[in-house]
């Protein structure tokens, strides 16, 4: 059975091939069958494989398909590697992916490019599965770039609006910056350990380097560069909010549940390397905490529902990075999984809301939806609870672990912990704000709630997972992950610390409710006060990072391209041809047809030649 592991990426890929080759000529139900069915089959296969894997108490399983490329000693295989970490990811990708596909088959049904949507998503799932199953970093890079491509394609899915195209390109190019760092990291790793096979490289790296080795740190830094690009962490987070231009199921699948967490996976996968470099661990933690704070503040100022969710995603991934940075590997993956549940739920519910309101995404034009959209309201509420990490929802379990680990870890500490708690407070603040503005208050406009199995079932399942999934993972899923990551005692910080961590979100909820729910204080007044207004603008713009990059990189590059459109190197041939023409013009003046000039030239030339021969 385990030998059929290749089927997991193969089913979505087959779906992709089928959809491409029929180029959208199939009837829509068939398209749905193939598009969502292939993911379902992959999920089923994953479940069967997981059963076998777990029941046999295996720690890892390797499947060599073929040798990919070969040059000198470098021969990465097209090989799959399954362990607890990969299995966790597989579950998220195929399981949550399947649910999202079902939802999408309803959500996208009326779109003229319905088949194209599934073409892309199937390719995405295939690439994502390759990413997590890769047994070497080159193959991982294949999946890594593949998901990036699909992200690009899906962000720009509605290609007729140039803004969507711009967002898509931004996403691709910005992540590509990280990818390049990643690639350079691979080169460096290969140079020193002579292999890119992950397990082998980790073993060799441990033999080769002691702790705090500069090269190891450098490699980690480069891998981190790749991770922050893909996972939208500082300083490469700017693409993700714009990526919301894609259809909402895409935001749920790619920009919340799966792809953006690839960076977390990458670091977790190479954790042994990072363990050699406490400095880089610390850097990961700092990146995580700064990102979660920054995006928390920004989320508070957004008015677009999906952008709020996008910033919350960035912030939650920041928590995962924090977990990685403090060495709480399992917690990071744990949070990755729970986040997938509640964030997918939030996005899909948001999709339903947006669809109900005729593609209205501005939260200030919503309001009072609690009565008109009761079911989405409940589902969204559950999602919010998970996001805020209210006990005992899934988000609570994972976030608590992270905060506790942060306090105790040598690469974490109280300061980082404080930042994380502040982040949790911010999360509560903006989540409540969002919920209150959307669902409470006066209502305006009419709604058309999409109904049907496809719209409801996935959401209910996700809501269930968001509510109780945490308990399940906390208890049942520790084993497979503990085989992957170095074990350690469970963190037990002082009780007061734990209490603060648990209580802070409630404080956030309360304050936010006073502002937005009860409207005891006027949020507008507060925001428009002289002190806060520039700050609000600053936060709203994503801490002016876009502006900064625009000024620093995009504008100069465009300027460079523009001033040199004609290629200045062309001056070389142009100047030589001009010189030749001038030479010609000058010379042809001598050939004026006057015999006496000819004689004169000849006489002078004769004198010259005589001079050269006789007197030189």
């Amino acid at each position: 059975m385990l030998n059929l592991l290749w089927l997991v990426p193969f089913f979505p890929f087959l779906g992709f091939v089928l959809l491409v080759s029929t180029s959208g000529k199939m009837p829509k139900p068939w398209t749905t069958m193939i598009g969502a069915g292939s993911i379902g089959l992959a999920a089923l296969t994953t479940a069967l494989i997981a059963y076998e894997f777990l029941s046999q108490d295996m720690t890892s399983f390797q499947l060599h398909l073929w040798t990919w490329m070969e040059a000198g000693n470098f021969a990465p295989g097209f090989s799959l590697y399954l362990d607890g970490l990969a299995l966790s990811m597989l579950f998220v990708i195929t399981g949550v992916g399947f649910l999202i596909h079902i939802y999408a088959s309803g959500y996208m049904y009326d779109d003229e490019d319905f088949p194209r949507f599934f073409t892309y998503t199937n390719l995405f799932v295939a690439a994502m599965v390759m990413l997590v199953l890769a047994d070497n970093l080159v193959l991982l890079f294949l999946g890594w770039e593949g998901v990036g491509l699909c992200s690009f394609l899906l962000i720009g899915f509605w290609y007729k609006d140039p803004a969507n195209g711009l967002a898509a390109r931004k996403a691709f190019v910005v992540t590509r910056v990280g990818d390049t760092a990643f690639a350079i990291g691979l080169f460096l790793l290969y140079k020193h350990v002579g292999t890119l096979d992950i397990q082998e490289a980790m073993i060799k790296a441990k033999l080769l380097w002691t702790e705090d080795n500069a090269t190891a740190s450098l490699i980690c830094a480069l891998l981190l560069g790749g991770a922050v690009g893909k996972s939208a962490q500082l300083p490469l987070q700017t693409w993700l909010p714009d990526a919301m231009a894609g259809p909402t199921p895409v935001s749920a699948l790619i920009h919340a549940a799966t792809m953006v967490t690839a960076g977390v996976y990458l670091i977790a996968r190479n954790h042994e390397l990072f363990l050699l470099s406490p400095d880089m661990m610390y850097a990961v933690a700092v990146v995580g905490v700064l990102t979660l704070l920054m995006s928390g503040f920004t989320a508070l100022t957004q008015s677009d529902l999906k952008r709020v969710l996008a910033y919350s995603t960035i912030s939650q991934i920041g928590y995962m990075f924090l977990a990685l940075g403090v060495g709480a590997w399992s917690s990071a993956i744990f949070h990755l999984m729970t986040h997938a549940f509640f964030k997918a739920l939030l996005f899909l519910t948001a999709g339903t809301i947006i669809l109900s309101l005729h593609h209205e995404q501005n939260i200030f034009k919503m309001g009072g939806l609690v009565k008109r959209l009761p079911l989405p309201c409940i589902l969204f509420f559950i999602g919010c609870l998970g996001l805020i990490a209210v006990p005992p929802t899934s988000g609570f379990w994972s976030k608590e672990q992270i905060l506790n680990a942060t306090w105790e870890s040598s690469t974490g500490g109280p300061l980082i912990w404080l930042g994380a708690v502040l982040g949790a407070f911010m999360t509560a603040l903006y989540t409540t704000r969002m919920f209150c503005i959307v669902f409470l208050g006066p209502s305006n406009g009419d709604v058309h709630e999409p109904k049907g199995f496809k719209f409801v079932a996935p959401l209910v399942v996700l809501a269930f997972l968001a509510l109780v999934g945490g308990v399940f993972v906390e208890t049942a899923w520790q084993l497979p992950l503990s085989n992957v990551f170095p074990g350690g005692h469970a963190p037990h910080p002082p009780t007061v610390i734990v209490v603060i961590a648990i209580a802070t979100p409630f404080l956030g909820i309360a304050i936010s409710y006073l502002f937005y729910g009860k409207r005891v204080f006027s949020a507008e007044k507060f925001a428009n006060s002289a002190l806060m207004k520039p700050l609000k603008t600053f936060f709203d713009s994503g801490w002016a990072m876009d502006w900064f990059y625009d000024l620093l990189l995009v504008k100069p590059y465009q300027w460079l391209a523009k001033i040199n459109k004609k290629d200045c190197v062309n001056l070389l041939p142009d100047a030589s041809s001009a010189a030749a023409k001038i030479l010609h013009a000058a010379l042809s003046m001598t050939q004026n047809g006057q015999l006496r000039l000819y004689v004169g030239v000849m006489g002078t030339a004769a004198l010259f030649v005589i001079f050269v021969v006789v007197f030189l």
């Binding site: 010379l587 015999l595 030649v609 021969v613």
Partner: protein, 490 residues
């Protein structure tokens, strides 16, 4: 003079007798075809005779004439290269109104001059040969001055050529006089010994310089090139072709023999002057040709450049190493042969489109517009000629250039080779421009391209193109005969 010497001299006598016979025949009957056939037969007979004697030991006939393999090679070349001159002239004259028969006398006299030059190793024969060639050419250049549709420019060309050639002859002769004053001998080899003895003084040097000027004029080296484009343009095509091929090639061959046998080539100053002239010729020749729209002028400028390229091989022939010297001399020989056959193709194509009956020659670039679509084969052949001139592989011109590169490299003339590369790049521009013109879609009906091509012209084109390609693909045969020809100079 022994009987062997006399027998050896027969080919020269045959060439000399052609003009006499023609005079006699003309006084009885003016029959164009007959006259041309006699001329043709004379050239071919002389050529075959000399060809037969190739490989025999060298014979010095009086101090003036030497028949060794080197001179035999060039005599053969002259005689055979004169065949197309006759054919082309026959075709051209047939269609024009002027007197026809006298032209062949002039032609045979010019060829006689060339043959004498090829066989000369003494200043007297050198001088006689040069002047025989030149004076005949004055008349040939200005030959078509009569008739309703005469070319007005022939007269101008002729006068310019005559005056300038006269001046250059004076330089040449003054140079000879000075050399004679210095050394007291008029044979090339005699001079060599004197130079080796160290008797060379300022007079001798000046003499050599003036000799170079005279030769340089005939070869239209820059800065003695001024006449070339005007005369090329003004003269009728067959004369231009003769001027461009035989007259130049033979003077160059003689120049090589003189410079080599007299040892003057080994003098640093001579090499410096040659290098200087070479650089100028390459750059100015190509520079002048660059935007040229008149094809005859273009070919004139291109010939200036080509003889500039040859200077590289000429300088390299001063090498002390026998192998390198042989290489350089072969290079000269090969280049000359390649240049002759290629130039014949080019002028053959030019002539094929010309209409002497109307006094019109296809010399303007626009006359060639769309030729590829009107007359594909002619255009293809002309392109081959142009590519050969440009030195593109599979043509004789490439092997020739290759040889020059090899010779230059063997003598480490990097600077000159660098100039050669630069000027070749310039040269490409105007050769390609002509080819492109032929590729352009024909705008309107072009009368030039309609007329049937005479048989003689076709024959020249086909045979010479075959030569160009043969030499480009399989040059070994010519290399071997050149190798044996230059042995006598080693």
């Amino acid at each position: 003079m022994t009987i062997e010497e006399l027998i050896a001299l027969v080919p020269l006598l045959v060439v000399a007798s052609i003009s006499v016979i023609l005079m006699l025949v003309v006084s009885f009957v003016r029959h164009h075809r007959l006259i041309s056939l006699i001329t043709l037969a004379g050239f071919i007979a002389a050529g075959i005779m000399v060809f037969q004697s190739m490989g025999q030991p060298a014979i010095q006939i009086t101090p003036l004439i030497i028949l060794d393999d080197f001179s035999r090679f060039f005599i053969v070349m002259t005689c055979f290269a004169s065949v197309p001159a006759v054919l082309l002239a026959y075709d051209y004259l047939r269609r024009s109104e002027d007197l026809k028969e006298e032209y062949y006398m002039l032609l045979s006299l010019a060829v006689l001059g060339a043959v004498v030059l090829a066989a000369s190793n003494h200043f007297a024969s050198f001088f006689i040969g040069v002047e025989l060639l030149s004076v005949s050419l004055f008349a040939m250049v200005g030959y078509m001055v009569h008739g309703e549709h005469k070319r007005v420019s022939t007269l101008e060309a002729s006068i310019k050529y005559m005056i300038l050639s006269g001046v250059s002859s004076s330089f040449l002769l003054f140079g000879v006089a000075l050399i004679y004053l210095n050394f007291g001998v008029l044979t090339f080899e005699g001079i060599q010994q004197k130079i080796l003895n160290g008797t060379l003084n300022g007079y001798g040097m000046m003499g050599i310089a003036m000799l170079l000027i005279g030769v340089g004029f005939k070869l239209s080296w820059v800065p003695f090139h001024m006449w070339t484009p005007d005369v090329y343009e003004g003269a009728p095509v067959p004369v231009t072709a003769f001027l461009a091929t035989i007259s130049k090639v033979i003077v160059f061959a003689l120049g090589l023999r003189f410079l080599h046998e007299s040892g003057a080539l080994g003098l640093f100053n001579v090499q410096a002057a040659l290098a200087f002239i070479g650089v100028l010729s390459m750059l100015v020749g190509n520079g002048l040709a660059l935007m040229q729209d008149n094809l005859k002028r273009l070919l004139a400028y291109s010939s200036i450049a080509h003889f500039g390229y040859l200077i590289i091989a000429l300088i390299a022939a001063s090498s002390a190493s026998a192998t390198n010297k042989a290489l350089a001399m072969e290079a000269v020989g090969f280049y000359l042969v390649a240049y002759v056959v290629t130039t014949w193709v080019a002028f053959g194509a030019l002539s094929a489109l010309s209409q002497p009956e109307h006094g019109i020659e296809a010399e303007n670039l626009k006359d060639y517009r769309g030729l590829f679509w009107q007359r594909p084969w002619l255009a293809a052949i002309f392109s081959v000629a142009l590519l050969s001139l440009a030195g593109v592989p599979l043509t004789a011109g490439f092997i020739a250039k290759f040889y020059v590169f090899a010779a230059g490299a063997s003598y480490t003339l990097w600077f000159l080779l660098g100039i050669l590369i630069i000027s070749s790049a310039i040269g490409l521009y105007y050769y390609l421009k002509v080819i492109m013109e032929m590729c352009k879609p024909a705008e309107d009906e072009n009368d030039f391209q309609k007329a049937a091509i005479p048989f003689e012209n076709k024959l020249i084109l086909l045979v010479m193109t075959a030569f160009v390609l043969y030499l480009g693909i399989s040059p070994q045969a010519l290399i071997e005969s050149l190798n044996s020809a230059i042995k006598v100079l080693m």
